[in-house]
Symmetry: C2
């Protein structure tokens, strides 16, 4: 397992770094970013929050726009942000922004031409944490969070791997992808037309039948253009009610789908994760 450092920036007394590595899950070179808080330079093993970004993003957007480093440095939490899909000239793609490169949806694709590279579920659940925990001064305490497509990914991954995550949070997640245009398009392409195969990638369906719980926090802007057609947090809330899932859903007047919304509430998400990572 080798990784190549491609950038370094000091940030709030810690270090933001980008790396590339050859991913076994994805059969291509992948890039990720890590923020190591100052505590990680002082011999401590710090817990990790994995951050999954939304459509069109890379490992850079969250690190540059969310203002997370201030609070990560205070709390002593590392942040790991993978890219949102496999990339490269020989990696299948689509003209739409919502399928293919930049739109991996955190699934293991089973359909051609996607299945060769699009194994983002395995990458995020297995390969990436194994790499991070072997290469950086981090503990094995993990939480996971994300935005939009990445909120979907974080919720699905936490629910299907409840023992591996202390907490999960999402901003504006695609809460019920089997039931919205973005989700139907991506799941059809990556998993095929048999909707029975989609259920294990749907946060609302998983939450409704859950028996193991990961504390969950979701924030959603009421001024978000995608709220009604694509995001459907009410489906997640109904599912939580049915199974008794420990979900807190906060709705926010006037906030939209942008990083300005994420930045406004990232401190609360970090404090939520810190309270569970400390347990």
């Amino acid at each position: 397992m080798t990784i190549e450092n491609i950038s370094v920036n000091k940030s709030f007394g810690g270090w933001h770094k980008q790396y590339t590595h050859q991913s076994e899950s994805l059969n291509c070179a992948m890039r990720f970013a890590i923020y190591l808080p100052p505590q990680a330079s002082n011999g401590q093993k710090v817990p990790v929050l994995y951050w999954l970004s939304g459509l069109t993003c890379t490992d850079e957007n969250f690190m540059q726009k969310a203002g997370v480093q201030a609070i990560a440095a205070e709390l002593g939490i590392a942040i790991v942000a993978p890219d949102t899909s496999p990339r490269g000239e020989d990696v299948a793609d689509d003209d739409g922004y919502d399928l293919g490169q930049g739109a991996g949806f955190y699934v293991n694709a089973t359909q051609a031409p996607w299945s060769r590279h699009y194994q983002m579920y395995d990458y995020v659940v297995n390969e990436l944490p194994r790499l991070i925990e072997s290469m950086f001064p981090v503990s094995d305490k993990r939480s996971i969070a994300g935005h939009s497509m990445g909120g979907h990914g974080a919720l699905v991954i936490a629910m299907r791997n409840a023992a591996s995550y202390q907490s999960v949070s999402a901003f504006s997640p695609i809460s019920n992808p089997v039931n919205c245009p973005w989700g139907k398009k991506a799941l059809t392409a990556y998993l095929g037309r048999d909707t029975n195969n989609w259920a294990e990638y749907d946060a609302s369906l998983l939450m409704r039948k859950a028996t193991e719980f990961v504390p969950a926090l979701v924030d959603q802007g009421e001024g978000d253009n995608f709220l009604v057609e694509q995001l459907k947090p009410e489906m997640l809330q109904a599912a939580a009610k049915a199974s008794g899932y420990p979900l807190t859903l906060n709705m926010h007047d006037g906030y939209d789908h942008s990083y300005y919304f994420i930045a406004s509430f990232i401190e609360q998400h970090m404090r939520f994760h810190a309270s569970h990572l400390r347990d």
Copy 2:
């Protein structure tokens, strides 16, 4: 005077907005961004920090990457970020990133082909504050700050208009442009070869002979690749010592020229400005 709103995002209880307007100084359409803290929605007139960005930037970089809104919302300060030059197909440009569009250097150009549009000094000193103070719920208390080329702009503008600004701050400013490659290239193009005409745009030369003082804060990373050849904060410090100028210069081990550096110390700059805007 008319302005056209082109974007709105709620942020930390306040509003980030972008506008375009026809600039009289620049003879072209200009874009700026404003962050209005929550206090501005509650009938208060809030003071304004003008932020001048560096080479290649627009009105967007600082608003997206510096994490300033959290502290601006707490302190009740509006932020105004203009673009870094005139723009447009009929606006003169250069192939280099350090001259022409995106590189206005906050001067009034006197040389062809630049003089028709490149009047950024007048725009920032006169036209923009007049527009902001007539169109938004702000007071006439102003401070000014910037990064790199914008740090140069902020220091020059504050020193030449000491009565108009309560305080000035800069990250990694081009402190002595008559004496560095970026400055020599831009000042030759915009002002001509007679270096006597450059002195009024050089922060170190202005600070050395200053008799009216604006409290000044400068932060500089020691890991900044441009430090020795382009930035020269030691020239500013020597000038401050000669004139007794109230300058605080902080050097920071390991920090580079990026927004990760700005974000790490923007809270201190905002508290510095707030202490003077309150006077």
